[in-house]
Structures are given as C-alpha cells and as structure tokens.
Symmetry: C2
Subunit: 345 residues, 2 copies
C-alpha cells in the first residue's frame, strides 16, 4: 500500500510499504477514506520536535476491512472514526474519561511503532475500545470532513473548552486561531458562552471564527492583547480561557487574561512554557487540559454533527490526495491554509 | 489597647497602641474575643517571607463595638466571624465567589496598613461585606474555637478540597499534616470522599487525621510516598489531591500522586515551587487553588459547625492569652503544637 513516510525535517515521501496485517486479536485493519494534517505534525515537520522516521498522521476516518478474533463491536464494512490515540476504553483512566492515559493505549503515527493515518490502510490496536462506528452510509463530502475533525482537531478544541470550564452565558477567550483555536470557538459556542473572544490576525481565520460564534476579534498580542481582553470584560478578565498554541508567549497571554478563579484549558503541546506558581496562586487561576480524550467526546460530537448543530469540517481549506502529502504539510507550514484534508479512497 | 506587634524574625511583642477608630463609613470596630496563629504567619516569623513591622494576625472572632455610618447589616453587640481577608462582597470577583481578589479588599494584619486580629480591637474595612454574624450568644468554648477556624484554617482546608474537586466516593490525598492539611481531611470527609490518604509523620496529627476521616496514613515522603499512594490506589493515583504546605517538595509530591485528569488543589503559599508544564500536560493533570475565599465558605461551614457535623476547633492544641503571644508562635515554630489559640476577651 501507499503511505506517507517522514524522512527528515521538511521531507515527507509517499512510499510503497507492506499492507498492515492483524497482529493481536484486538486489532482491526481500517481502509482510510480521509486523513488530515495536524498542527502538531508541524512541530516535527519543522524540525522542532522529535519524530521517528516512518509512519505519520493520527487523524483518519475509514472502513473496517478486517477484525481480530476478539473484536466484538466491529465488523468488516463498518464506517468508523478513529481518535488520534487508541485505547481499550475499559481501564480506570478510560473509565474516568481520560482515554489518552489508557494503560493499553498509545498514539497513531509513531514511525515504526504505530501505523499512521496518512496511508491507505491502518492497523488499529484495541479496535473495540478505539473506533467509533457511524451508522448509515450516505454522507456528503462536507459531512465526512466534519466526521474527520472529530479524530482530533474538533475534539481537541472541545477539550480546551471543557477543561477551561466554559459555562452558559460566560465569557470565553481563545488564544490561537489555528484549526484547534477555531474549533475551540465552535465548542465555546456549543457550550453556551455568550461572549467569545479570539486572538487572531489572519483575515480568513477571523471570518470562520465569526461564523462559528466569536463575538470579538483581538489582533493585539502579548500585554497589549491582554489589555484589550480586560477592556472587553470591564476589567474583570475572561471566565474561561483556552490555550490552543503551546508557545511560551501564548501561555503567558492565556494566564494573564483569566479572571481570578478562572481556569486555563490547555491543549497546545507546551514548548518551553513556564507556569508561574505564584501569580496563578494569588489570583486563584487554575489550569487543566492536555491531550484530548477524543474517544470520550466523539459520540456526543458526532451526534451534534449529524444533527447539523456544528459543522467543524469547514476548518479544512486545502484538499489534496496522498501523492501530494508534502504539499499538504507545506501549505500549513507556510500558513497558506488552516488545515489540509487528504482524500485517500 | 494591647496588640501583638511584629518586630523582626523570632520577635513579637505585645505593645500598647492607640485604639482603632472608624476611618471610613464602611468600617466597623470589632472587640476580639479569640484570635490564633496561622501556619503562614510562621513564614515571616522565621524570617523566610517579608512582613512589615506592626500589626499581625488575620484570624479572629469577636463582637461588633461600633459601625460606620453606611454599615447596614451589622450593629453593636453582634457576634461575628472575620475571614482573613476583607472584601466588599459585591464586586465581580466577590460575586464569582473569589473574595480574596476583591477590588476593594486586602488582608488583615499587614503592619501599619491593615489592623491585625492578634489585638484587643480591630478596625474592619468593608464591614458589611466582610463579617459574618453568628445568631445566638450562648456558645461553648469548643464551639467558639470551631467558629474561629472558619476565619482561615478550616476555610482554607475546604478550599483545597473544593479546588481539587473532591467527589462523593472518590480518593482524596492530602500533602501536609499541619492545621490546614488536617482541615483538608475533614473537608474531604464532609464532601464524601471514601478513601482519604494523608502524608504525615507526627503521631498527634495522625490521630486527629484518623478521627476526622483519614483512612490511610503515609509516612514516606518524596518518590517513596508517591509509590505508597499509587499502591493504595491500584496504581491509578488519587482522584483529588490537596497541597497544604507550599514547598517545592510538597508540590512535586502532590502533582506526582494525581491520577490522569485529576486536579491538585493548592492552598500552601508557594515558596520556590516549579510546576512542570509538560508532565502535567501529558497526563491532563490540573491545578487550582490559591488564597481561600473564606467569606464565601463561612455561612455553610458555620451551619455545619452549629449542627455538629464538623468540629474543626479540635485543631487547636495550645491555648494562651495575648501577653504570651510570642510563645504561641514558638510552640508552632518548634512543632510542639499544631495550632495556637489566643483568648483575648
């Protein structure tokens, strides 16, 4: 089969590799219909984070081709959404709703170790606990794109909102206007926030943010941006803050715009971030978040997508195929696109 | 009047100072009946933290002697509990339940700036928003001691439990066996935790912890202590962790024993603490807490005291009078007592 292979920074190739086969009785093989590129993929693409040579991509939807002997909830032909991490859905951490800490889990797209979704087929470990079946089979391309976002980006934005404790009628502030930040806007709206403030300088992103419920766009960054957010909230600060970038600057902004007692919901993978133990303490500012337990959120968000309450697939503004995977990364790296979708089969 | 005055490290004197007078229409003058020494007072007593020369003590109960012209909810003769911080109870932060961030508030016992409770009389700013009246006037000494704990120590332990999100049937772990840590045990029990683990090496403290609901005492510290907590929770970690010390070591232990998705409720004033932005992130471990909004908790906790559901006054194991204030600090500094009560009038 064809699969995207990470070679080195700025270099991804499509190579012919052996088709995956069932290795454990709990595995399934999925034929990938659509995959996409994650903002977090850009860290290693740019040579900032480490990544083993080999398979990449952790967001995909597809059709079950084959199941291992102990798989009971899935069968060949099922249309499924894969969260970016696999998990058994039965361990204490999964049962507590934190599937990314599953004792039998790990992440897709880890070089030689775990298959990636940017490929024609994927071996899915812990298939029963991982894959969420979608009932029905006649979905529009737009609907499929929205399903695909549940793999990671929409679930991650939703995790930011849940972690920050967004409440009905409250003020939600989002740092980051990438695909996750925009999904956080949509999530804050879904959870009933009344005032939704996003830090954004890119016009196309601002437009989508407004469509999804942002009531205020703040173009300033750093202290100047915090000042604007404070002014927009009568000096109080935001009730719930979502950190969707992961840099030191974005984290500083996020903590500084939180009102006393508020929580910063962090979903941006931290890169050289410092959390001030004292200022957070004196103002009772909290922090939650981490890798989103997408598996926990998919069923409810899927229902929201099917009912037409949310349309997170709009985050994709570049579509290509597997042969052009390098370009899918390049357009995101160069900020020519918010997020790239890869049609595979 | 007589008042305890902080001179320099390890030196507190009782001095004759002018009686406080009403300065603002929102003030009240309170005759102090009982005061006490806080674990946080030990920081400056030991010369570790800064404190201006002058008035000290932020925990007191007493009787209203006089009120300013705009005070409407209080009158001379009312028996009151003072939270350790004064607040207007009407600003956005107070209305959100975070009174220690009140825009018109500050802390008692700040040298020349704000009167301290370790004195015969106190000028209480923002009296209507600050003081909580106790109905009735025939209370036992034990009941009065419990009222006094609501000023700070019990409210702070409760804030640790609330911040950590202690839930009915859950596993609560407490780092610190000082008066606050013990109050956190009592609070975890009040909130329905089923397994309550405290890190403690002092026999008298262990005894009170057990009386108040601790199910497990862990004597080990550092990594060894974390290992025991993990073993006690089938490898999972605690559902809610309360950090009641404020040192680097105590914070490290607290974060390390939290299960994925759990929150560390911090109430120990941080001293050279580092919060790891990455390990907390990858395991979705959160952090909340800070100075307790005692004013928000007192009404409900007062009801619990009066109904006999909790008896936090048992935390006092040394009783003296104002003339012996230095000894009240010394017994706590030297760990000869958990907490000192000072009978004043």
């Amino acid at each position: 089969m064809k699969a995207a292979i990470f070679i080195e920074e700025y270099r991804i190739e499509v190579q012919e590799v052996p088709d995956p086969v069932i290795q454990q009785a709990t595995d399934a093989i999925v034929r990938v219909v659509m995959a996409c590129v994650c903002g977090s993929d850009l860290w290693y693409y740019r040579g900032i984070g480490e990544h083993p040579r080999g398979s990449i991509g952790h967001e995909f939807i597809g059709v079950v081709e084959e199941v291992g002997s102990s798989v009971v909830f899935l069968k060949k032909g099922d249309f499924v959404i894969a969260p970016f991490a696999f998990s058994d859905n039965t361990c204490p951490h999964c049962r507590a709703g934190f599937h990314t800490a599953c004792v039998n889990g790990s992440f897709f797209g880890m070089g030689e170790k775990n298959d990636g979704g940017q490929a024609e087929f994927v071996r899915v470990p812990q298939a029963d606990g991982t894959l969420v079946r979608v009932e029905g089979d006649d979905f529009s391309e737009a609907m499929l794109a929205s399903f695909l976002t549940l793999s990671d980006v929409m679930s991650t934005g939703y995790h930011a909102a849940v972690s920050a404790g967004v409440k009905e009628g409250g003020v939600a502030a989002i740092v980051g206007d990438g695909a996750v930040g925009l999904s956080a806007v949509l999530s804050a709206k879904l959870l009933g926030a009344e005032q939704i403030i996003i830090i954004s300088r890119h016009e196309s992103r601002q437009r989508l943010a407004r469509d999804w419920g942002a009531t205020h766009i703040v173009e300033e960054r750093g202290e100047a941006g915090v000042k604007v957010v404070k002014a927009l909230t009568a000096g109080v600060g935001a009730d719930a803050v979502m950190e969707c970038v992961g840099t030191k600057e974005a984290n500083e902004m996020a903590f500084a715009m939180a009102r006393p007692g508020a929580v910063v919901g962090r979903v941006g993978v931290p890169h050289e971030v410092t959390i001030n133990p004292n200022t957070t303490f004196y103002y009772n500012i909290g922090m939650r978040g981490g890798p989103a337990p997408a598996r926990a959120y998919i069923p409810a968000l899927l229902n929201d997508v099917i009912k037409g309450r949310i349309n997170p697939g709009r985050v994709f503004d570049f579509v290509t195929d597997l042969d052009n995977i390098q370009e899918a990364y390049a357009v995101m790296d160069e900020r020519r696109a918010i997020k790239s979708l890869i049609k595979i089969s």
